[in-house]
């Protein structure tokens, strides 16, 4: 039985709150995305759906219980894009996907003629620098946790011909974004711009809290053989217009060499400073504390009382035990010592 001797906690001076940011490194290498499990494009870790609106990427064949969902891939374009045409494959679905993402992430302009905002390759949603033909990479919450850490995202894609996709590469990263600036807050949370490495060209945006990367097809401009050539080699624009959504996603997977970011989990803590006065807690109610009705740790009667603190109990105002904190090793306590024990509660 624990000692029933309570020491009041002053909520003004004995309680403090802190926040710790725990991060995880999330590397997603290209081999997970194509060729590791089965033969591209029929990888067994890639799940396509009958609705054909997106494909899911897993880190292991998705029929295995071990597989984790990594992200979803899809494409879309605005109805005002030159690619939008009634003859385009899955034209309506691609427009709807673009609008759905932009509504959720950016909101509306207030205009009655074209109310849904468009993605822009800058931080000002002023209608300039619009990206009308885009890839969407929707990361699983399992990996993004609370949010992607600003300034840590990088995506390297191959810009060579289809057979040697990585003969040339481009890297996109949110180099300018940080916790203190270079982001814009919208419906979908903060977003930062994805710049091409070594240049000021922007080819996408990254929504940190939503965990969604919007990559403009302009990153592949100048690539003559974006796809595999099954229907004749197509550029990225031709693929976006004439291939199915899953077909274009397959081509993108084939070209992702490396993708990595860090995530963030906020851990809120409350710290209780438990004060142990010199003249208290020098006795234990543990049955083993007494031997023959005498304190076991005292040799002679004049010795000061000694106890070993192993546990701290936190009680509410009704003296009901709410939580216990264990010390890593017992702490010796006698009347010559006064202690402050710091108890941290994470939640």
């Amino acid at each position: 039985m624990a000692v029933q001797n309570y020491e009041n906690i002053d909520i003004n001076s004995d309680v403090s709150t802190t926040r710790t940011l725990l991060h995880e490194v999330i590397p997603i290498t290209g081999t997970i995305l194509s060729g590791a499990y089965g033969t591209w494009p029929n990888d067994t870790n890639i799940k396509n759906y009958s609705h054909g609106m997106f494909q899911s990427v897993y880190d292991y064949p998705y029929l295995s219980s071990s597989a984790n969902h990594i992200f979803d891939l899809t494409v879309g374009f605005d109805e005002t894009s030159p690619l939008s045409a009634s003859a385009a494959t899955q034209n309506t679905k691609k427009i709807n996907l673009y609008n759905q993402f932009s509504q959720l992430l950016l909101g509306y302009t207030g205009s009655t003629t074209d109310g849904v905002r468009k993605f822009e390759s800058d931080l000002t949603l002023d209608g300039t620098g619009t990206m009308k033909d885009v890839f969407f990479i929707n990361f699983a919450r399992l990996l993004t946790k609370d949010q992607i850490k600003k300034g840590t995202f990088s995506l390297t894609v191959g810009t060579g011909a289809f057979g040697s996709a990585f003969a040339g590469t481009k890297t996109l990263y949110d180099v300018s974004a940080s916790n203190t600036g270079e982001t814009t807050n919208t419906f979908g949370g903060d977003y930062g711009v994805l710049f091409e490495s070594g240049s000021s060209n922007a080819h996408g945006v990254l929504f940190y809290q939503a965990g969604i990367a919007v990559v403009s097809s302009s990153i592949f401009s100048g690539v003559a053989q974006f796809d595999s050539g099954t229907y004749g080699y197509r550029t990225v624009a031709e693929s976006l217009q004439s291939s199915s959504i899953s077909g274009t996603c397959d081509m993108l997977r084939h070209r992702i060499q490396n993708l990595s970011y860090n995530n963030t989990t906020e851990i809120n803590s409350k710290i209780y400073f438990c004060r142990v006065p010199h003249n208290k807690f020098n006795y234990s109610s543990n049955p083993t504390y007494l031997s023959g009705s005498k304190i076991r740790v005292k040799e002679v009667a004049t010795d000061p009382p000694v106890s070993y603190i192993t546990t701290i109990g936190l009680y509410n105002s009704a003296n009901e035990l709410l939580a216990t904190a264990k010390l890593s090793e017992p702490l010796r306590k006698d009347p010559t010592q006064e202690l402050i024990l710091r108890v941290r509660l994470d939640y």
Binding site: E24, V25, T29, D59, S66, Y108
Partner: protein
């Protein structure tokens, strides 16, 4: 947007009890958890798919089939930036390294700051103090867990010669003597003293059972060449592990040990022979042969017992199974959100208003006024072609938002399919939240 207040009858608190079943099989120095075979990965071809050894549970199940590779890449940088070169540059200039290596695996890190948080691996204060503020403290995944067996020949001889794990449990053993006398450390009749007995301590981490092992569900089986030679069960549900089979076996009906349900320990003391066939079962014994007994149960469960350490191939004739159920409690909140007749019949979605209407009535430095005569769109479906159905007020409910008393959104329940609600309809949405 209007808010609906929960009544006292709309919120229920419940506790959901579950009994997760665990099954371990121990053979030839390997453990198999829930009959899961050893899986070699495709990419991680030299290791395990989960990067955790056979019999181990992988917390979070991260790093599935990921080999550890030194890519020399920096997280957040392109392929042209070398990690090693960057570290060299930083160290030469005395700058704190605040970037991370991409080793192809997921791993956690925190920056040392005033919160004084760190991983348990940085337990010692001195270790932690050696890092500068802003330095990165990293750990690794997966975190794994499995059962462990400990063969204890000297539980407690003196204050300088004892097994710490056993000594830590002595008080608890005496405490539980009210359940059964077999818990007691020492007894005069019948006479025993656990301090001097040879003990077999099996530790079960709480991740396998939750708050306690469910009494009455424990089953420990000793197999010799595939034949059952002994089974222990806690059939009295008081912690006594009683030999219940096979029928007529030596020691049947005897107590071979006790279970600490809440703490997750099995302490076996039964030393009677379960068979006359002798096996090499003790690590470091140089091939010494012993008859199977409960003190050798579980040999090979993370206790450094294998054919090499016991010095004999007879060890592979032994195999063991351990089955039990756990007990977990999950608190749940059930909330009933009511959409009554004539209520919840408007949407704030901009597409709810007919397209092409003027939005503003008037705006100035002091006034912003929207037109009150804007028309809603008619979403009623007509059964006939070339004929628009009559207008009715109806909405499709797709989400239910839960707010706190300060009207902060604290949760969103999304329906699998939007529900059509007409003015005369009434719905109650049941929202369940595990906490």
């Amino acid at each position: 947007m209007s808010y609906k207040k929960f009544n006292t009858n709309d919120i229920l608190y419940n506790t959901m009890e579950a009994q997760p079943k665990s099954s371990f099989f121990i053979y030839d120095g390997l453990i198999y958890y829930n009959n899961m075979p050893k899986q070699t990965g495709t990419r991680n071809s030299s290791g395990h798919v989960r990067n955790a050894s056979s019999g181990f549970l992988s917390l979070y199940e991260y790093n599935i089939d990921r080999p550890l590779v030194d890519t020399d890449r920096v997280i957040g940088e392109g392929p042209d930036v070398s990690y090693d070169a960057l570290v060299t540059n930083y160290q030469a200039s005395g700058t704190q390294v605040d970037f991370l290596l991409d080793n192809a695996r997921i791993y956690p890190y925190i920056s040392k700051d005033s919160a004084r948080s760190s991983f348990k691996t940085f337990g010692a204060v001195n270790d932690y103090n050696e890092f500068q503020y802003g330095a990165i403290l990293s750990a690794s995944y997966p975190l794994s867990s499995s059962i462990t067996r400990e063969y204890i020949t000297t539980p407690y001889a003196s204050t300088s010669s004892y097994n710490a794990h056993y000594v830590a449990l002595k008080n608890k053993l005496d405490f539980y003597a009210v359940r059964s006398k077999h818990y007691k450390v020492s007894s005069s009749s019948p006479a025993w003293n656990k301090d001097t007995q040879t003990l077999n301590l099996i530790s079960i981490p709480s991740i396998f059972y939750g708050t306690r092992i469910r009494p009455g569900t424990l089953s420990l089986k000793w197999y010799l060449s595939g034949s059952l030679i002994g089974e222990l069960r806690d059939e009295k549900e008081n912690g006594e592990l009683i030999q219940v089979g096979p029928a007529g076996s030596t020691g049947s009906g005897s107590v071979a040990g006790v279970a600490l349900y809440e703490e997750g320990f099995l302490l076996l003391t039964g030393s009677w022979d379960l068979s006359t066939t002798q096996l090499a079962l003790i690590s470091g014994s140089g091939g010494a042969l012993n008859e199977p007994a409960w003190i050798y149960y579980g040999a090979g469960a993370n206790d450094n017992v294998n054919q090499t350490t016991v010095g004999g191939a007879t060890y592979v004739s032994a195999s063991f199974s351990l089955d039990f159920k756990g007990h977990t409690e999950t608190q749940t909140v059930t909330m009933f959100a009511h959409a009554k007749v004539g209520e919840v019949n408007y949407s704030n979605n901009p597409t709810f208003i007919q397209k092409g209407q003027t939005q503003m009535e008037y705006t100035s430095s002091h006034i912003y006024e929207e037109r009150s005569d804007r028309l809603m769109i008619n979403t009623v479906s007509s059964s006939h072609s070339d004929y628009s159905a009559s207008f009715e007020r109806q909405v499709y409910i797709s989400r239910v938002g839960v707010y706190d008393k300060f009207k902060n959104l604290i949760g969103v329940a999304t329906l699998s399919n939007p529900v059509l609600k007409k003015e005369a309809d009434e719905y109650s949405f049941k929202i369940k939240l595990d906490i």
